[in-house]
């Protein structure tokens, strides 16, 4: 199959491409020099605004994984990157006579501040979003589902890193937060000890995306590539991180560093307010990084995964092992 892949240089792109080794992949890249090299992947320089017309006759499948994940960017900027970027992809898809399917890679966070069980279905606009990124991705989903194209959506939860070595191509909010935790610079986290933290590996995410892409078309289908019921709770994750840190640092081992407290949203907001008032640059940075990731924990939810289970099986990579590998990678790469 001839596949157009966007987001090849992102966190997930290479892993998706690896799963598609039996196919011919045209990867859209801005700079071919910085793109990974794979035998079955042909790098096509360009942008979402200028997708190659020369390929329209060949492309049978489009996997749109490109997105701006700058959680704290203004909504207007994110709309340009995510909503309008996707609109270009959909416009391109309409010109592909052999197209069988468009798979749009989305985020489980499109549910915004909704709590509880999140179904693998089109979601009504949530009452509010934690950040503009979530809103832009929700709007993008609506655009895809209303496009009148053979389109499907894969929502992914937090892609932590590789389950083989913990590596991540781009350090994100989760990784910054892990680093600040390791340094003992996060005094409190918003949420409750029971809040599920849905983290998945890069490989699992890629497997779900490609399984969905290669499966028979079911227009409008939404698949949630999430850990679901295999997710640790925030309390479990913090305990595990504390034990990992303890194995690496005498200060953690001896209990000299007190793990952060899990607090409610109002307490966390008071802390953020104090930091803001103080003007402390380091803590502003810590809070800014945390802000992108932690407020989501105030809205505990469990993602339904039956469609993902049907595609790749119910097993998930062990979160403890994943957390250990990613944490080690973050510590080693920033130390």
């Amino acid at each position: 199959m001839k596949i157009l892949l966007t987001g090849y240089t992102g966190n997930l792109g290479p892993a998706i491409a690896r799963e598609l080794a039996a196919h011919a992949v045209h990867a859209m890249v801005r700079d071919a020099g910085s793109a990974p090299v794979m035998a079955h992947v042909c790098n096509v320089e360009g942008s979402l605004e200028s997708l190659p017309a020369s390929l329209t006759g060949e492309i049978e499948l489009i996997i749109h994984a490109a997105a701006s994940t700058s959680f704290l960017a203004p909504l207007d900027d994110l709309r340009i990157a995510n909503v309008e970027g996707t609109r270009h992809v959909l416009d391109f898809a309409r010109t592909c006579p052999r197209l069988k399917k468009v798979v749009h890679v989305s985020t489980a966070c499109v549910c915004g501040m909704q709590s509880g069980d999140i179904p693998e279905e089109r979601l009504r606009r949530p009452p509010a979003f934690v950040n503009a990124y979530e809103q832009s991705k929700w709007e993008t989903e609506a655009l895809v589902l209303d496009a009148g194209l053979p389109a499907e959506i894969v929502r992914l939860s937090i892609v932590a890193g590789s389950e083989r070595d913990g590596a991540v191509r781009r350090i994100g909010a989760l990784h910054h937060t892990l680093y600040w935790l390791w340094k003992g610079l996060i005094p409190m986290m918003a949420g409750s000890p029971d809040t599920p933290v849905d983290i998945i590996s890069t490989e699992f995410a890629a497997k779900v995306v490609t399984a969905c892409a290669l499966a028979p078309l079911s227009t409008g289908r939404i698949v949630q590539g999430c850990a679901g019921r295999s997710s640790p709770s925030l309390g479990e994750l913090l305990d595990h991180l504390t034990s990992l840190f303890s194995a690496k640092s005498p200060a953690w081992q001896r209990g000299s560093i007190t793990p952060p407290m899990i607090v409610d949203g109002e307490t966390f907001a008071l802390f953020e307010q104090t930091v803001e008032q103080s003007g402390d640059l380091l803590f502003r940075r810590v809070c800014q990084d945390s802000k992108a990731f932690l407020p989501g924990l105030l809205h505990p939810r469990r993602y339904e995964t039956s469609r993902a289970d049907a595609l790749v099986g119910p097993a998930r990579p062990d979160w403890r092992n994943l957390a250990e590998l990613v944490t080690s990678h973050v510590i080693d790469s920033r130390s």
Partner: protein
């Protein structure tokens, strides 16, 4: 035979310098507006450690109306432990390093029957350590009935008055712990010390981050030791540190916000004297009734987190 549960604070007193300077007139790192926002309109300055201590101690002894068996001097700053020798400055040698404030104060107040020691290396929690040692001495030694704890600190003229978003005031304080006739019965004490944070300049950010979770741990510790629940605390006596920190700490400890004592005056952060200044003010303003459980908390560089629970008696 004294029951240990009868031991407590029999009297207390504080002393502030005469001069209060607006925060705009002080040397600080943060803008004055920021510090005002944190509850620091200014600071008490130009204090003399010896004078402040002597004033507070004399008042505390007078109020206690008993003979003093032990004098414990507690200051945060190393310089505050040393009294200036009468030998002219140019003629002083290493011996002047052995001129201790506690000894000077004993002489000054005529406390000939008292034995003298000092408490150090606990920053702003020094007074808590002194009270803890005082109580322990009363429990351990039959001949020790009344212990005077004195703490005073003053910054050098023109010193930077800001420490980690707190504006520091000069002040002195004193209290007498006794076996009987106490205003505040000693219910329990818990302290968490973390030597990991000894290098204060190098670990400022880590200290700020550790402050809240370790404070909550410490308060939980004293509640556990005393068999009390957060809701059993009737009033939290704050220190003079950044006022925005207290509502956070109250929430972390599960104590209702309205149980935080709201001082009428701003004393700045007076290092050792904060808690006693606030306690004295709370009593003067009629905020205390017999049988109330009071929670006092202090953090000191080193680092040590200290939580103390007192119960007001009928004498309050």
């Amino acid at each position: 035979m004294t029951h240990t549960e009868d031991i407590g604070i029999r009297s207390l007193a504080t002393a502030l310098p005469e001069k209060f300077a607006a925060v705009e007139a002080l040397r600080t790192t943060s803008p004055a507006e920021t510090l005002r926002g944190f509850g620091f309109p200014g600071a008490w300055v130009d204090g003399d450690v010896s004078e402040l201590a002597a004033t507070a101690a004399a008042k505390a002894i007078e109020r206690a109306g008993v003979g003093i068996d032990v004098l414990l001097w507690a200051s945060a700053l190393a310089a505050s432990h040393e009294h200036r020798s009468t030998v002219p400055a140019g003629e002083r040698d290493v011996l002047s390093c052995f001129c201790y404030q506690g000894s000077w104060l004993q002489e000054q107040l005529g406390l000939e029957g008292a034995s003298v020691s000092g408490i150090a290396q606990q920053g702003c929690a020094g007074m808590f350590a002194a009270m803890r040692q005082a109580r322990a001495l009363i429990v351990a030694e039959a001949e020790t009935s009344n212990v005077l704890c004195v703490g005073a600190d003053a910054f050098p003229p023109d010193a930077d008055r800001e420490i980690l978003y707190n504006v520091i005031s000069d002040a002195g304080c004193a209290c007498v712990l006794s076996r009987e006739e106490v205003l505040y019965r000693w219910v329990g004490y818990h302290q968490v010390s973390r030597g990991y944070y000894w290098d204060v300049p190098a670990k400022q950010s880590e200290i700020i981050a550790a402050y809240f979770p370790t404070a909550a741990l410490t308060v939980r510790g004293v509640l556990k030791k005393t068999g009390l629940q957060p809701c059993d605390i009737d009033l939290v006596i704050p220190t003079g540190v950044n006022r925005s920190s207290w509502p956070i700490l109250m929430r972390l400890c599960g104590i209702p916000d309205e149980r935080l004592y709201q001082p009428a005056q701003s004393f700045g952060h007076t290092i050792a004297a904060d808690s006693l200044l606030m306690l004295e003010e709370a009593r003067d303003r009629g905020a205390l009734r017999p049988g109330m459980k009071l929670l006092l908390f202090a953090y000191g560089f080193g680092s040590s987190w200290c939580a103390l629970i007192l119960e007001t008696t009928d004498l309050v």
